[in-house]
Structure formats: structure tokens, C-alpha cells
Amino acid sequence: MKKIEAIIRHFKLEDVKTALTEAGALGMTITEVRGFGRQKGHKEQYRGAEYTVDFMPKAKMEIVVADDELDAIVKLIVDSARTGQVGDGKIFITDLTDVLRIRTGETGAEAL
């Protein structure tokens, strides 16, 4: 099993979710996050006091998939989240040791 963490633009969230659910995804988790990469921040002014905001708001989507589904799911995310501009985000993939469904106690692929 793999865990996919995709940092994406807020306004692409709905597109990505739709693409994944249409492909059969049964669940995902979303968090509001802030950070920076290549995309530069912006300046804000309040009564003359100027602040540089480096941490840009993004959405982080976490989804766990079986190994054989990984490539297809990642391609779906990339296709639906891409605008071609700096700031589209990143995808991190990690090996996942186990998953456990609290209600039934099922583990592994059964619990997905």
C-alpha cells in the first residue's frame, strides 16, 4: 500500500476529488496547509506597515491506494490539478505499513 500526499491549489480541489471518485476512490482526507516552494509569496500593507507573506495557503489531500493502483491514481491527480503555472503543488508518495478500520478491526487492503 502507498500513501499519496498531494499539495494542490484550493480551486483544483473539486476537480481532483471528482476525478478520483469517478475512478472509484472510496475515501480521502483534506487539510488546510500553508507553505512555500518555487511560488513566491506576496506583500500586504496595513496602514503603511508592509508584510511579506511567504507561506501560501494550499490544500493537502491524503489518499491511500493499493500498489497496483498507484500510477493510475497519481496520473489522475496530476492531470486534474495541473494548470501549468508555478504553484500547482507537489505529490509525495510513501510506503504504508498498515491500515486498520476502527469499527471492524479489519486491516490491510480490507480496510481501505
Binding site: E44, Q45, Y46, R47, G48, A49, Y51, V53
Partner: protein, 461 residues
């Protein structure tokens, strides 16, 4: 610490000894003496209605108006600290005003006209009483308005004035010190100043040095503004000021607060006519147009100099315009009001940006930049645009060639500034010695909500 505060309250209360009160009653013709046939007070329904509404409007300026305006500008760990300063001042200042503040401001001269006497201590002479068996409220002078409504209307000014100072020491002043300072400041600084400017024979109200201050440019805005500057300097900047970002945590609050202040200001200014009459109408319209022009001017300045008009700039401009028209709205017409609003927008924009950054004081929410500078500008411009067609025969300003009136306005600005600075300096030193002014470094970093009140403003579960 609590004992000291209690001691101060007891000392002040002990001044209200019955012997003093009796002396006050003997000197004035009191309708309480049942033997004399005193006619029922003639209450004017229209005037009284407007003053009831105005009093409520002015209270709304402190909270939610100012509470939201200031609350949105601080960091989120201090939102309750600001709200509590406003709400608690609504409590404590109201009680102080009813017990002795009103009397010190509007009582008959004592100490050579320096301050009012004890005629109205404990609301003496203001409360309902029997007139040949009929209960009725005594009327304030010739106004046709119950005296206690005049008292409570003026009390709303007494609440908001120290609340305005909160903007300077926001996010770092100890709550107990804030309360003690505000009570002392109201008693020692505000009451004498209000007496000079508004009591029947105040030295700035009538006579050689008569200055026009219709609704509180000197009493409310200059006094709070310059005291605020002193607070900012004596308390020192917030930890991280200039190095850490301290952007407003919720400008939507500030926007709502601005709108509430704007509406409340109709009571503040048009209510100062103490009646539903032409003066109230003129004050209402002049007030509205000055605020409107302030929005355009401040946001316009940002647009020209920085490329974008900001929401905070528009809000600040409205308040600057309102501050500036406050002393003037009883003697200038609404067209001049537009000029005052425009001037205030531009002038206060520079005071809050260029002036503040040049001197580096941490007037956190620009209480001095908006109220001190805007108030002084308003008092001076009142002496420029004052017109007999609004203020009545004998009223004129620099535009009509009346240099003396302009000089009187300058004198009133200087008097209010010096008095507020000296009074605040002494009181801040006293409070500092008794309680200390600032919270500890740990408490400041933690935020006033938790460290002073044991609560958090935002809990989402």
C-alpha cells in the same frame, strides 16, 4: 494589588460624605423641599425621544463598534483582551459617571472653575421625585429633556473616551492597571476638561477664550489621542514590534465595527444638539458627509501612492472624517463638512503611516494618529469654517476674517493637549508604581485572552 484598588475606590467614595452632599443641596434651589409649590417639569417629547435614541447610539459605538473595530486589528490571541477592555469600561465608567463623574464635569464651578462641584454627586437632583404628589423627572436646564437622560448621554462619552486610548496600549497592558488608569483618568483628566469646554461657564465654553467644540473634539478625541501617544511611549512597543509581522487578524470585524461607529456617531454628534432641531439636522448631515469624504480621501491616497485602495484605509478614513467633524458639526455647514472629511483623510493617512514610522512609537491601533491628530485638525478647521448661518449670530471663523476665533481654537487644542499629557503622565506613573503597566513577557507572548482572562476567543470543535 486588589486591596490597593479597593482602597482607592473607598477613598473616592468617602469624599461623597453626607455633609458635602447637604452643603450642595443648600446652595441650590432644590425642588425636593415639599413646602414650595414647584410646577411639574415640562418634558418635550420630541427632544427627549431623540436623546434617548442618541444615548443608545453612542453606547453602541464602544461595543460593538469600537470593540470590533479594534478587535479585528489585533492578533487573534488578544481579541478578547480588546473586547473586554471595551465591555468592562462600559461597566465601570458608567458607574463612576453616575456617582461622581457627571457632577465633576457639569456641577457648578469649584476651585475657580477648574472643575464642577458636588451638586450632582450620587445623581442628586437628577432622579425622579414628587412634584405636589406627582412623580416626575427634573428637566436639564431649558432643554425639555430629563436631566438624567442628559446625564446618561454624556456618560456614554465618558465610556468611549478611555476606550479609545486602548488602541495605543493594545496587546500588552495589564488589565487591572487598565481599569485603574481609566477610572483615574476619567475622574482627573476627562471631568475637568469636560467642565472647561461644556459647562455653562467653562472658560473654553464662554467668555474671552470661547472655543467651539460641539461634540467633543477636544474633550474626547484630543484628550484620548495624546494620552494614547503617551501610553504608547511609556509602555514601549509590543514584543517583536518591527521585526515580527503583526497584521490585523480579522479585517471583516474592523469593517463591521467601522459601520457601527459611523451609525453611532449620528447620536454622538447630532445628539449633542440636545434636541430634535435644526442643529441636530445640520450635525447629522455634516457628520455623514465628513465620514463619506474621509473614506474617499484616505483610500484615494493609498490608491495614488501605493497602487491599491485598502479596506483598512477606507475604514480608517471614515473614522478620521468622523473625528474631524466632531467639534465642528454645530457651527459649520455640511459642505464644509466634506472639506473637513477630505482634509482628515489625507492628514491622518500621513500621521498613521509616515509620522509613526519616522518616530517608531508603537501606537498599535493608531489611536493618536486618528483621534489625536484628527481631533486637533478638526478643532482648528472648526475655527476656519465656523459660520453664523449654522452657529447663530456672532459665530464666525477664519473664512469670515475672525482671527481671534481661530486663535481660541488653537488655545483650546493646546490646553486639552497639555492637560491630557500632564494628567496622563502623572496617572501612568502612579499606576505603574502601584500595579505595573505591562503584563509579563510570558503573558504577552501567550496573549491577553489567556493570561488576563483565562479564555480563548476562538474555539472550534
Amino acid at each position: 494589588m486588589n486591596r490597593i484598588a479597593a482602597l482607592v475606590v473607598c477613598t473616592v467614595l468617602s469624599c461623597l460624605s453626607p455633609s458635602l452632599l447637604d452643603a450642595g443641596i443648600e446652595e441650590t434651589v432644590s425642588p425636593q423641599s415639599a413646602d414650595v409649590a414647584v410646577p411639574l417639569p415640562q418634558i418635550d417629547a420630541a427632544h427627549t425621544t431623540w436623546m434617548l435614541v442618541s444615548s443608545a447610539l453612542v453606547l453602541m459605538m464602544t461595543a460593538p463598534g469600537l470593540a470590533l473595530f479594534y478587535g479585528g486589528l489585533v492578533r487573534k490571541k488578544n481579541i478578547l483582551g480588546v473586547m473586554m477592555q471595551c465591555i468592562f469600561l462600559m461597566g465601570v465608567m458608567s458607574v463612576v459617571w453616575a456617582l461622581w463623574g457627571f457632577s465633576l464635569a457639569f456641577g457648578t464651578d469649584v476651585l475657580g472653575g477648574f472643575v464642577g462641584g458636588n451638586d450632582y454627586f450620587l445623581m442628586d437632583g437628577l432622579l425622579m421625585q414628587l412634584y405636589e404628589g406627582e412623580p416626575a423627572a427634573p428637566v436639564w436646564g431649558e432643554t425639555g429633556v430629563p436631566a438624567m437622560i442628559f446625564m446618561v448621554f454624556q456618560g456614554m462619552f465618558f465610556i468611549i473616551t478611555p476606550a479609545l486610548i486602548c488602541g495605543a496600549y493594545a496587546e500588552r497592558m495589564k488589565f487591572s492597571s487598565m481599569v485603574l488608569f481609566s477610572v483615574l483618568w476619567g475622574t482627573v483628566v476627562y471631568c475637568p476638561l469636560a467642565h472647561w469646554v461644556w459647562s455653562d461657564n467653562g472658560w473654553l465654553f464662554t467668555g474671552k477664550y470661547e472655543a467651539y467644540d460641539f461634540a467633543g473634539g477636544t474633550v474626547v478625541h484630543i484628550s484620548s489621542g495624546v494620552s494614547a501617544l503617551l501610553c504608547a511611549i511609556l509602555l514601549g512597543p509590543r514584543i517583536g514590534f518591527g521585526s515580527e509581522p503583526m497584521p490585523p487578524h480579522n479585517l471583516t470585524y474592523t469593517c463591521i465595527g467601522t459601520a457601527l461607529l459611523w451609525v453611532g456617531w449620528f447620536g454622538f454628534n447630532a445628539g449633542s444638539a440636545v434636541g430634535a432641531n435644526s442643529a441636530a439636522a445640520n450635525a447629522f448631515v455634516a457628520t455623514h458627509l465628513a465620514a463619506a469624504a474621509g473614506v474617499v480621501a484616505w483610500a484615494g491616497m493609498e490608491w495614488l501612492t501605493r497602487g491599491k485602495p485598502s479596506v483598512l484605509g477606507a475604514c480608517s478614513g471614515a473614522v478620521a472624517g468622523l473625528v474631524c467633524i466632531t467639534p465642528a458639526c454645530g457651527v459649520v455647514n455640511p459642505l464644509s463638512g466634506i472639506l473637513l472629511g477630505l482634509s482628515a483623510g489625507v492628514f491622518c493617512f500621513y500621521a498613521c503611516t509616515t509620522l509613526k514610522s519616522k518616530f517608531g512609537y508603537d501606537d498599535s491601533l493608531d489611536a493618536f494618529g486618528v483621534h489625536g491628530m484628527g481631533g486637533a485638525l478638526g478643532a482648528l478647521l472648526t475655527g476656519v469654517f465656523a459660520s453664523s448661518s449654522v452657529g447663530g449670530a456672532g459665530v464666525s471663523g477664519l473664512m469670515d476674517g475672525n482671527v481671534d476665533q481661530f486663535l481660541n481654537q488653537v488655545i483650546s487644542v493646546v490646553a486639552a493637549t497639555v492637560w491630557a499629557l500632564v494628567g496622563s503622565l502623572v496617572l501612568l506613573k502612579v499606576v505603574d508604581a502601584m500595579l505595573g503597566l505591562r503584563v509579563s513577557e510570558d503573558q504577552e507572548i501567550q496573549g491577553l485572552d489567556l493570561s488576563q482572562h483565562g479564555e480563548e476567543g476562538y474555539i472550534f470543535l
